[in-house]
């Protein structure tokens, strides 16, 4: 537990080392990145193994930082942060494995990559709103460079710019909200502080109007990064243009930053505001689930299908948050973990295994290839990841969706029925993607029996075989989704006590309709 802040420092140190080593040896930079990510992952697992769930954040370090404003460097963790820290450690490790083939400015790539990871760890560990905001910004900047330098050639500048503008606009709203909250707290007679606990205590004296306004600012600001409709448009373009590891991190972890901010800051600080905005958030979440799902259903670009599917799945997270009861929020956190793992797998297949071998993302081109024969490992991975993404039982998406449905039903049966429709849409677009991408329009019975012969003259490409790094990364993610699918208790036992803290209970009670 007390070693958790090391994940932040190790990532930043690894970034510096990778940058230094990268000028001499690409291999050294890669290995530094891998060792750094593995170290962080091990630290999170170690903390998890000795974690004693308790309500409330367990403080790890708390130092004065900017004393005039009452800003403190305050790191703490509870079951929710721990879940997401483990996810970040896993995603970071796997992301390095899927970036093993990068040859262009390797040191800089991994330096930026590890900086991003360090920022993410920081956000999940912060118990001071200002500290959190600083780490949040640290996480945003590297994304721009990762996409703009290593992204797909045509769209990368546009996508990187769009993503960063959206992110900064979101954080501007958050910052404005935090400053307003701080000022209002002082005006209501509290001492200036950005500690989440202090702000929450001060916010109980705020007027209803202040609560509603503050919640709108802070929640919207964070929700931009969570891909909430109608602020989601950065996500598909960003995911598509980004290099594979960055897409995996963007969809897998960075979108979770937004949802985490909503849950950790906006909801407990401004419960009155939450109650007011609840139906609006639910409506936007449901629109997002369907709108992004329908777009994914008709996309011609394989990576866009996955990009929009992320937006659709994050809709379930937001719906769980909007329901604002312990069951639904626990489901939402479980869904954050689950989607982080599954989105990582999907982007790994589409961006790395398929695109870097076939050099096309157009479904119309891919369906001409008997890809399930040419890349059977990728096909199997995509089928399993697709099933997980559809919410098939046996994979982590299922307990997450089930728990969300349970919680949402408690708040509003009508929302739950919409969510049921959303599951159907997710099944439809995922199945279509599986069908068209890997299994084309050629039934297997039309293909000659021996796999080694050319299937159609000229259509067989000798693709580079799937590398060991890809296989290990895939195995890690698949193991995680199946393990949590069969034993969701592991995470629920961390998450549920965290939701019993007084801070969370204020939000969850204030939020019950």
């Amino acid at each position: 537990m007390n070693a958790l802040p090391l994940t932040i420092y190790a990532s930043f140190a690894g970034a510096v080392l990778a940058l230094a080593a990268g000028t001499r040896s690409h291999a050294a930079a890669r290995w530094i990145a891998l060792v750094t990510a593995l170290t962080s992952f091990a630290l999170t697992l170690l903390a998890a193994s000795s974690f004693a769930p308790s309500p409330g954040l367990q403080t790890i370090i708390d130092l004065p930082w900017i004393a005039e404003l009452g800003i403190r460097y305050h790191l703490a963790a509870d079951g929710i942060s721990l879940t997401l820290l483990v996810l970040t450690g896993l995603a970071a490790t796997v992301g390095v494995l899927f970036s093993w083939n990068i040859e262009h400015r390797v040191g800089e790539f991994f330096a930026l990559y590890l900086t991003l990871i360090g920022g993410v760890f920081g956000v999940f560990l912060s118990a001071d709103a200002f500290t959190m905001f600083v780490f949040y910004e640290i996480a945003i900047v590297p994304k721009y460079f990762l996409i703009a330098n290593w992204g797909s050639p045509v769209t990368r500048e546009h996508a990187a710019m769009k993503l960063v503008l959206y992110s900064f606009a979101g954080s501007a709203l958050v910052l404005a909200g935090l400053l307003w909250a701080n000022a209002a707290a002082v005006a209501h007679g509290s001492v200036s502080s950005f500690s989440l606990n202090d702000l929450a205590a001060a916010a109980t004296h705020f007027s209803r109007g202040e609560q509603i306004g503050l919640f709108a600012l802070v929640f919207t600001g964070f929700a931009v990064l969570a891909g909430m409709f109608p602020f989601h448009t950065w996500a598909p373009t960003g995911h598509v243009a980004a290099p594979t590891a960055a897409s995996m991190l963007l969809a897998g972890v960075v979108m979770k930053l937004g949802a985490y901010g909503c849950l950790r800051v906006a909801m407990p600080l401004f419960p009155v505001g939450l109650a007011f905005w609840q139906p609006t958030i639910a409506a936007l979440a449901i629109i997002g689930i369907f709108y992004a799902g329908f777009i994914a259903l008709v996309q011609d670009d394989f990576k866009f299908v996955i990009g929009y599917s992320s937006v659709s799945h994050m809709g379930f997270v937001l719906l769980g948050l909007a329901a604002a009861n312990a069951t639904a929020v626990a489901g939402a956190v479980l869904q954050m973990f689950s989607h982080g793992v599954i989105a990582g797998l999907l982007f790994a297949v589409v961006g790395r295994m398929v695109y870097e071998r076939t050099h096309t993302r157009q479904l119309a081109d891919l369906r001409q290839l008997p890809l399930h024969r040419l890349l059977p490992f990728a096909a199997l991975t995509f089928v399993l990841a697709g099933l997980a993404s559809m919410g098939m039982p046996g994979f982590s998406g299922f307990p997450a969706e089930l728990t969300i449905l349970m919680g949402v039903w408690k708040t509003s049966p009508v929302w739950a029925l919409f969510a049921g429709g959303g599951i159907l849409v997710a099944a439809a677009f995922t199945l279509r993607a599986i069908q068209v991408s890997f299994f084309g329009s050629i039934p297997l019975s039309r293909v000659t029996a021996s796999g080694s012969e050319p299937i159609h003259a000229g259509s067989l490409h000798h693709y580079e075989p799937i590398t060991l790094a890809e296989k290990v990364g895939t195995a890690l993610l698949l193991a995680a989704t199946v393990y949590i699918g069969l034993k969701p208790d592991v995470l629920l036992d961390w998450i549920t006590p965290a939701l019993q803290s007084p801070l969370m209970q204020a939000a969850l009670k204030g939020g019950s309709l």
Partner: protein
């Protein structure tokens, strides 16, 4: 708790087989074939043990395995066996090997058959064993969580079997099949989420207890109870299918390869009926009772329109597909009639137990005869492909009523076995189909005479189209495909059809062999028909 987890063995042996096949790279098609068949036969072998240990007079689930699984969601790994489950485990055990034999040209390119459009026999075998295990899991699970796991996972191998080995329209049909079914299941999932919120359990027996004593209705205020009921109903209605949720079925069955079509109609459609009997009816006795008049009308729609639609088909596979809708609608009609009569008068006992026995028999018998009919159509398809000298990689062609003539003289053994299946499906006394339908009609007449009267229309149309099938294909002068050489059954085809035909005759003459398994259970159901 018993020492050997027999039921787990029943469920997971086929999955172990699938895993073994998946890991054995480079084994010959013949070995693949033998291994697949051996693992699929495990169910039948283990069923022997089950029959030996099973006590039909004990009404509670037997050989129960119950272990804590997910504490946070109060989920237990819970398997149990009663007469209904045992009947369907037996059916799965009989039909899976038959379906595999009927697919042997998919499993082996080297087999001397008219057609060998095969590839990846290992994949085919693994998928089939996965499907078998999932179906067995559905019939034995007593807790929603893993019951739903098996229920949903069964779609995955079915999807790939249809898509990869099916006819020209297979990709579309497979997609439609899965999306329709998941569409139903998604709302069933919402329903069970709500049930958990209201009761804190997902155990079928506990939920049924709460449904029976009215607690459930009290815990789901407002229209919650009805919403949950309709959500769960939708899941099963699509699966069976109940008219008008059947539109996925004809294309799916018609495009599926022979073995998969046999399994779909023989076993997977029973998963839906099983859901009605095991889950919907016990947990929601009151809503089902109130919806029963409407649902009976839908079931009658299936009986009548299914039969008339079959009559209009010239494609033989589609004809058999529509006849499945008709036959399964009888099962649902009987259940709805029982539910409708519940609480109306005291003299429903004998009629209800007749209707329910009929339903269970009909499930089993339809499984045998419909699977045999699909196998027969498969034989006709290979003969047509042979007659047209189609290249071996184009798959089997569709067959129509007008492609054949005089098969009876050309292939007497095939004609005999196919005729037996047709007449069993038609409900000829002495064959298995008769007993189930007779009991259903006997029961429904006692409970809901008007419905029974309308349903006879379906009987009439069924007789018409099955006799048309028989006459056009087997009688008359040799014509079409039959004009040239028409080989009689080869040993493998014989091995597929003969056991099914023997069972049809045996269970037709001695239905007591089956009813003995579930009679006490049915009697107890019929004796406890009450509404909360």
């Amino acid at each position: 708790m018993n020492a050997v987890p027999l039921l787990s063995l029943v469920v997971f042996t086929p999955w172990i087989g699938a895993a073994v096949l998946a890991f054995l790279r480079g084994i010959s098609p013949a070995t693949t074939r033998a291994l697949t068949l051996a693992f699929s036969l495990s169910t039948l072998a283990l069923s022997g043990l089950l029959l030996f240990q099973f006590d039909p007079h004990s009404l509670s689930p037997q050989l129960v395995e119950r272990h804590t699984w997910i504490v946070a969601l109060n989920v237990h790994y819970h398997l149990g066996l009663d007469g209904l489950s045992l009947l369907l485990v037996l059916l799965t055990g009989i039909l899976t090997p038959a379906a595999l034999l009927a697919s042997w040209y998919h499993l082996s390119p080297s087999l001397p058959l008219p057609l060998s459009p095969s590839s990846s026999p290992r994949l085919f075998g693994s998928l089939f064993l996965l499907l078998q295990g999932a179906a067995l899991g559905v019939f034995l699970a007593l807790d929603f969580f893993h019951w739903f796991l098996f229920w949903e996972l069964s779609l995955v191998p079915a999807f790939f079997l249809i898509k990869l080995w099916g006819g020209p329209g297979a990709p579309r049909a497979a997609y439609q099949f899965v999306v329709y079914t998941i569409g139903g299941s998604a709302f069933m999932l919402v329903g069970f989420a709500a049930l958990f919120v209201a009761t804190g359990t997902l155990d079928f027996a506990q939920l049924a207890q709460l449904g029976r004593d009215g607690t459930l209705a009290a815990k789901l205020p407002g229209s919650g109870h009805e919403i949950v009921f309709f959500g769960v109903l939708l899941g099963f209605a699509v699966k069976v299918p109940l008219w008008p949720f059947h539109t996925w079925l004809p294309a799916t069955y018609a495009e599926a390869p022979t073995g998969a079509a046999m399994f779909l109609t023989g076993v997977m459609s029973k998963m839906g009926v099983y859901g009605f009997l095991r889950i919907l009816w016990p947990i929601f006795p009151a809503p089902l009772h109130y919806a029963a008049p409407w649902l009976s009308a839908l079931a009658l729609g299936g009986v009548v329109f299914g039969a008339f639609a079959a009559m209009k088909q010239t494609d033989l596979k589609r004809m058999v597909a529509y006849s499945s809708i008709n036959h399964l609608s009888y099962c649902l009609l009987a259940l709805f009639a029982v539910s409708y009569a519940t609480g109306r008068n005291v003299a429903t006992g004998p009629a209800a137990s007749a209707a329910l026995s009929g339903t269970l028999l009909q499930m089993f018998n339809h499984g045998l005869s419909a699977a045999a009919l699909f196998a027969c159509v498969g034989v006709l398809q290979t003969r047509k492909a042979h007659a047209l000298s189609l290249p071996s990689d184009t798959g089997v062609p569709p067959v129509s009523l007008h492609d054949f003539g005089g098969v009876r003289t050309a292939a007497p053994i095939f004609a005999g076995l196919c005729g037996l299946s047709l007449f069993s499906s038609l409900g000829l006394p002495g064959l298995n189909g008769f007993v189930g339908e007779f009991l259903i009609f006997r029961g429904v007449f006692g409970l809901h005479p008007v419905a029974a009267a309308i349903a006879t229309l379906g009987l009439l149309a069924t007789a018409l189209f099955l006799l048309t099938f028989w006459q056009r294909v087997f009688h008359g002068p040799r014509a079409g495909v039959t004009a040239t050489a028409f080989a009689d059954l080869n040993p493998i085809e014989l091995a597929t059809l003969l056991p099914l035909a023997v069972l049809m005759a045996v269970f037709g003459l001695f239905p007591g062999l089956l009813t003995g398994l579930f009679n006490p259970l049915i009697t107890s159901w019929a004796d406890h028909l009450t509404l909360p």
